[in-house]
Amino acid sequence: MTFDAEALAQIGARMAQGTPQAAALKFRLVSADAAGAAMAVPWSEQLVGDPDTGVMAGGVITTLLDHVCGLSVSCAVIAAGQGIMEYGMATLDLRIDYMRPAAPRREVIALARCYRLTRSIAFVRASAFEDSEDDPVATAQAAFAFTGPRPVVAPGGAS
């Protein structure tokens, strides 16, 4: 299996600040490698969803999870030896379970793993937490469809 770490570093940096919404939310790339991708969003006053508690809005976590899930697909495609610019993709669906409110004034990290890659669909699991994946704020499950030229994946997928 070939793995282009440089390509991933580039796509990770672009995902963190290259899209306007990610820049507006001040997303930070934590890691992007063959195992998956992680990004963080800092707490800020303007992202509060419940002024009684100061807890960040669920929508911010939704956006972070969607974003990092997409990046994890890029990780899986690159890990499978495919060029990252050869395809486009769209989120088909995203399910999020909220275990508990995020801690006020804390950064939230989201970690995503693309656990199955087929010719047309990528399946991803993710979780969001402050300190440990074992104590999640939220968990997510997503499916992405490849649009345009499809990545060529060996039978059985990349995982």
Partner: protein
């Protein structure tokens, strides 16, 4: 000032208070209009909401967040709430790219129990019959009347 804590009596007051007191709804730039008990949430296009600059398209997370906030607004319209409902789970289905234009959403409270509400939301842009995304979610409630009861 907290919107939900005051539990204002009229639908319009509850909706306006929630929109004004929730910083993230301001960050998105969303508003809502009320016709009787029918609410339409409105998300004007803004550059900072873009997820894909090539199309350009709204960020999928923004669309999901707008749908979730619409559900919270609809619940505030529907019932006086002691605290803002907590989102338990959401399932977001993406049907079409969200283009660089105004997005609208309406929520349907399918079931509201003592503790849990089930809400469906649909978002569209030019044609309501061609939705861009849909959300189904469960929300944990703190009804205002529970305060009075003890």
């Amino acid at each position: 000032m907290s919107a939900a804590g005051l539990a204002p009596q009229s639908r319009a007051e509850r909706l306006a208070a929630l929109l004004a007191s929730t910083p993230y709804m301001g960050f998105l730039g969303m508003t809502a209009e009320l016709a009787g008990d029918e609410m339409t949430a409105i998300l004007p296009f803004a550059d900072h909401l873009v997820g894909n600059v090539l199309i350009p398209a709204l960020h999928g997370g923004v669309i999901g967040a707008f749908l979730e906030m619409t559900a919270l607004c609809q619940l505030a319209v529907r019932e006086p709430l002691r605290r803002q409902p907590k989102t338990i789970d959401v399932t977001i289905e993406y049907l079409r790219p969200g283009r660089a234009q105004t997005t609208y959403a309406r929520a349907d409270v399918r079931k509201i129990g003592r503790r849990i509400a089930n809400v469906h939301v649909e978002a569209w842009q030019e044609h309501k019959a061609s939705p861009v995304a849909a959300l189904r979610g469960h929300f944990l409630l703190s009804l205002a009347e529970e305060d009075a009861a003890g």
